[in-house]
């Protein structure tokens, strides 16, 4: 008995010590310093008649497929720059997985010819801006005399909001700071239905359900599915159902209440923070969907309840399941990897994608189904009603171009980019292709001085040039309105382009450095949780969806390992955010 008692005491002591170790607060995260020294920018060659960069090659590495007609565009570029640039340009395209591996293996290799590379917060940019893999580029921006193109296209605010480690380590690539998705549907079918509510288009969820029902009843015998989406849960039926929330708070309002919303800590992991508007003290933070919700009771109304973060998910999941039961959703959605072509072939009644795809979708649809007509239903109520400041943004781009420190051709990379962004003509060459061959400029409508464009497509002689602008050329200075778009598409594209649509998030310059808590952010529960919602979003869950999702949430809340890691993550987040705020004041 005595031995057992001794053993019990020893075990208790071991557990206690282990417990303290687990609760050990994280080490103070590396405070980002003021960044490395920025390099001196290369001065433009001024000697007349001497093209710069003789005998050298600029290697540009991107992901995706080589665009059709790209060789012709490169040739045209060389023709236009023959007097000023003598260096060669080589583009390399990879599939995304291969690209990531290639980048990791070669970023530090000076012989890899990696001079200009695509990167993003969702790949390596945050980390490599900190660890010295990339060159700090501040000297090339806001430098009107030597780099007028970069000066024109990247103003001070744009640059400031896209810094990492307090420096410009990536050239931001975005056209707008938000995008509007819409439900694309068959206008000809809506009209053919003869239903009064659909006569003037679809303007709310109720009307959309009438359309789905009609397609189900009248087209399913031809193998048509009323609504189609991919199995990944993006642009899902749930996203359409939940697009008319009864709780809409604008960015300005949440800022005034002191709530900094939707900070991405790592892909798929988002947090909100409450900062006392009076004192500037960070009161607390909340890791959405994973943290047990008691912390929200410190937040101000209406942010002190999960309903504003999770929405009326009980109603939404139930309705999504009902759509599946009613046959509005494809029964094979759980295996669908490429839904859009089915719509273009006339095999689906509707799907969701961005407004910017309208011209392309319409073109392909009409090619396959000549009598088809396309229209859009703006399912997001706040966008449909054009609520100002409804998109919150920190004016950070999603994609960037960076220059590896190992590259001997930094100067070529920056000169090349400066040329692209120096004029609409240069920019449009890469973004849209050769005028007259790949696109035509249409006479500008009144007040639209920059004109519009339309693809010139001749399948017998040419292929459409579809360059992925998000990898090289996207910029807010060079927006164009897509021609061939319906009046509604143009109207809402203008809304997306209008800066008044955006509200700057509180302390927008703050960027979370995840590296001190990377291990905690890699908690297995986050990985598992990343896909748990998908079956609910696509309507494939059987049984009581409310109980089953509640059980999933409760499992996360009761996962002590996860909650413990969340506390560590939050401590780091709060400390970094407080430091940032304190430096501002």
């Amino acid at each position: 008995m005595k031995k057992i008692k001794i053993l019990a005491v020893i075990l208790a002591l071991m557990l206690t010590v282990t417990g303290f170790m687990a609760c050990k607060p994280s080490e103070k995260p590396n405070e980002p310093d003021d960044g490395e020294e920025t390099v001196e920018p290369v001065i433009r060659p001024t000697k007349p008649g001497e093209a710069y960069g003789e005998g050298r090659t600029l290697g540009i590495h991107l992901y995706g497929q080589t665009p059709s007609g790209f060789d012709e565009v490169i040739e045209e570029y060389k023709r236009r720059t023959a007097d000023i640039f003598a260096f060669d340009v080589e583009f390399h395209f990879y599939d995304i997985d291969t690209y990531k591996q290639t980048l990791t293996l070669n970023v530090a290799n000076p012989d890899s010819n990696m001079d200009l590379v695509f990167d993003a917060q969702w790949i390596n940019l945050q980390e490599w801006a900190n660890n010295g893999n990339y060159v700090r580029l501040d000297g090339y921006f806001n430098n009107k005399d030597n780099f007028p193109g970069l000066y024109k296209a990247f103003d001070e605010t744009y640059c400031e909001n896209n810094k990492f480690n307090n420096g410009i380590y990536g050239v931001p690539l975005t056209e707008t700071f938000g995008d509007s998705t819409a439900v694309f549907y068959r206008k000809d079918w809506a009209e053919a239905s003869g239903i009064e509510a659909l006569k003037n288009g679809i303007d709310n969820l109720e009307e959309f359900e009438i359309y789905l029902k009609w397609v189900k009843e009248n087209k399913s015998q031809d193998g048509v599915v009323p609504f189609i989406a991919n199995k990944d849960g993006n642009n899902s039926p749930y996203s359409v159902i939940m697009a008319e929330p009864d709780q809409v708070i604008t960015v300005d309002q949440s800022n005034a209440l002191g709530v900094k919303r939707s900070m991405q800590l790592k892909p798929g992991i988002f947090a909100d923070a409450y900062i006392d508007p009076e004192t500037g003290a960070v009161i607390d933070a909340y890791i959405r969907d994973y943290e047990e919700p008691s912390v929200l009771q410190s937040f101000p109304q209406p942010f002190n309840s999960t309903t504003i973060y999770q929405g009326n998910w009980q109603w939404g999941y139930t309705k999504t399941q009902q759509w599946m039961t009613d046959g509005y959703i494809s029964s094979s959605i759980a295996t669908e990897i490429d839904a859009v072509p089915k719509f273009k072939l006339g095999q689906a009644g509707s799907f969701v994608t961005t407004l910017g795809e309208y011209t392309r979708i319409r073109s392909d649809l009409v090619k396959n189904v000549p009598d088809a007509e396309l229209d859009v239903y703006i399912h997001d109520k706040a966008i449909r009603e054009k609520t100002p400041h409804i998109f919150q943004t920190d004016f950070k781009a999603w994609n960037f171009l960076a220059v590896p420190k190992s590259s001997p051709d930094l100067d070529l990379a920056m000169l090349f980019l400066d040329w692209i962004f120096s004029s609409r003509e240069n920019h449009d060459l890469f973004q849209y292709g050769i005028e007259g061959k790949h696109w035509d400029k249409i006479d500008p409508a009144a007040g639209d001085e920059d004109g519009t464009y339309e693809y010139l497509v001749d399948p017998a002689k040419h292929e459409a040039y579809t360059f992925p602008g998000y990898l090289l050329t996207w910029n807010p200075t060079y927006l164009r309105m897509p021609a061939g778009a319906s009046e509604k598409v143009r109207e809402y594209t203008e809304f997306v382009y209008d800066m008044n649509t955006y509200g700057e998030t509180l302390y927008s310059g703050f960027t979370f450095d995840f590296t001190p808590v990377d291990a905690e952010l890699n908690n297995a529960a986050f990985g598992t949780g990343a896909s748990e919602h998908i079956p609910y979003y696509i309507g494939t869950v059987k049984g009581d969806v409310v109980s089953s999702w509640t059980a999933i949430l409760n499992r996360r809340y009761e996962n002590q390992s996860l909650q413990s890691d969340i506390r560590i993550i939050k401590a780091s987040l709060i400390e970094q955010l407080q430091n940032y705020i304190d430096k501002l004041s």
Partner: protein
């Protein structure tokens, strides 16, 4: 009755008494919310977004929702929402004060009880050193159970023997008014809201025990106060003449003086016209204050993020720093006012109710926002720029079976949901109903955007409807059972007695017979 019969009677009586004595306590203690019973009137509602309290006409409290800091008052500290209302073990409660994580309850005798979170000593039960230590180590980050919290009500000890007449709570602050018209505060002192005249205060400043609020000079105590209310981090007090004094944060204009600074000593409040603010009634919630002036005007001050100004404007930057009239009511007879923070309500003498501000998840009870006229929205260049804000007072319609109803009193608010009583005493509510807390499981789930009769949920199932049990039923049943048992016992005893009497009679008869036979035999032998 024979001795044997008496003994049997005693044994049987003891048996039945034992049954009653052991059964009765169970019948009292095991009375649970699952049992249906008679409907009980609800006197008042108190709550926050994620937890609710109903105070009944019997002065009992029922709680449900999310209580990770022990707010449900029955020992639970779960991070799961409880949909079922359960009674808190307190009696004779007349009023509650609800903070962001803690609750105060005042009973008929003037005692105050507290439970819930205690990060800043807002429970008033001491433990300063523990609280201070926790602040230093930032342990209070996201915690929901700790030695500093209390999941059961505890009575607060005041430094003086006083009877408390009103309590109020908000944020991490607790306030009480005593019968001597002094004000007591405890909890967070981040912006001087304790009113103790301290020159230094901040995020780590607090008091874990009640102390009296100082007067404007900071020397004596604030006196002659007849009413109190609180915003998130300031206290408002009304004296016997209706003058308003306030202290704490002035970030949203809660002090309504000609200043913008916070203060740790009371300052007098003024209207926008520079006159002393004198009120019949004051109501505050979150960062907003509504006042009913002595001359019947409705005034407001605080933030105007959701159009709470009520004059057709909305501003995320400009606050209303001094009490300003809501002119819509200038020609109306106002009976009562209620601030719900992001929204506001006024009850007229004729029973009409008006609301304005944020209509989120049905919090104004006015139905579909898109059905409202444009003059209560903000329209710019033909576009309605307010998604769900009502910037001018709009009448809320209460109706049943096509008949419109008038309201008699306000019955409490949690900001996201608000309750009223009609002239028949029936409770109505609207707003966020995610956990059934607006009290209707049959209507639009998960919110009630128009007023509905309030029914409480006493089951874990959303689709089941229960009425609130009457806890008096069980004792009545017990008494009836006891009476029946006693009656049965008496009947049984009587039957037994009769049998014994018969037996007795039979024995006597047989004895008499035997005696007779013996006598006859003796006579025959002679």
């Amino acid at each position: 009755m024979s001795k044997a019969g008496n003994k049997i009677n005693k044994i049987m009586f003891a048996f039945f008494l034992a049954v009653f004595v052991f059964a009765a306590p169970f019948s009292w203690k095991t009375a649970s919310a699952e049992e249906a019973g008679q409907e009980v009137r609800i006197q008042h509602y108190y709550g926050q977004s994620s937890y609710s309290y109903f105070l009944t006409d019997e002065n009992l409290i029922y709680a449900f929702g999310l209580g990770p800091f022990g707010q449900l008052g029955d020992g639970t500290t779960s991070s799961k929402e409880r949909y079922e209302a359960k009674r808190i073990d307190l009696q004779n409660i007349v009023q509650l004060g609800v903070g962001s994580k803690h609750i105060l309850a005042l009973d008929k005798d003037g005692f105050v009880y507290s439970w819930g979170g205690n990060t800043y000593g807002q429970l008033g039960i001491g433990r300063e050193s523990e609280i201070a230590d926790a602040m230093e180590t930032r342990e209070n980050l996201s915690r929901f159970v700790s030695i500093r919290d209390s999941a059961y009500p505890q009575r607060i000890s005041f430094p003086e023997k006083v009877k408390i007449t009103k309590v109020s709570a908000s944020g991490d602050l607790s306030v009480a008014l005593d019968e001597n018209k002094n004000v007591w505060t405890w909890g967070s002192n981040s912006v001087g809201q304790l009113g103790n005249g301290a020159e230094e205060y901040g995020t780590k400043s607090f008091s874990a025990q009640p102390s009296k609020v100082k007067d404007a000079d900071g020397e004596g105590n604030l006196e002659n106060i007849v009413d109190i209310c609180t915003t998130n981090s300031s206290v408002l007090a009304v004296d016997a003449d209706g003058n308003v004094y306030a202290w704490g944060s002035n970030f949203y204009g809660a002090l309504s003086n000609q200043d913008t600074d916070k203060t740790s000593t009371p300052v007098q409040s003024f209207t926008q016209n520079g006159e002393p603010l004198q009120v019949e009634k004051l109501s505050a919630y979150n960062n907003n204050v509504l006042a009913l002036s002595k001359d019947g005007k409705v005034l407001m001050y605080g933030d105007n993020i959701f159009g709470q100004r009520g004059n057709g404007t909305l501003s995320v930057t400009d606050k209303v720093m001094q009490a300003s009239e809501v002119e819509f009511f200038s020609d109306k007879e106002v009976k009562d006012i209620l601030s719900a923070g992001n929204s506001s309500f006024v009850l007229l003498e004729n029973g009409d109710v008006y609301g304005w501000g944020l209509h989120s998840k049905g919090s104004l009870g006015i139905g579909d926002y898109s059905d409202l006229p444009d003059d209560v929205k903000i329209v710019e260049d033909g576009i309605v720029v307010t998604q769900n804000q009502v910037v001018k007072p709009y009448r809320i319609v209460f109706s049943e079976d096509g008949q419109e109803l008038k309201m008699d009193t306000f019955a409490g608010t949690a900001g996201v949901r608000t309750f009223f009583r009609d002239k028949e005493g029936v409770l109505w509510g609207f707003g966020d109903n995610t956990y059934g807390q607006a009290g209707n499981l049959d209507e639009t789930f998960p919110n009630c955007s128009t007023p509905v009769r309030t029914k409480l949920n006493f089951s874990g199932d959303f689709d089941k409807e229960f009425v609130m049990p009457n806890y008096l039923i069980k004792p009545v049943i017990t008494i009836c059972v006891f009476v029946v048992l006693v009656a049965a016992m008496i009947v049984a005893l009587r039957i037994k007695e009769k049998k014994l009497e018969k037996l007795d009679a039979e024995i006597r008869r047989q004895a008499a017979e035997k005696s007779q036979n013996n006598t006859e035999n003796r006579t025959a032998e002679r």
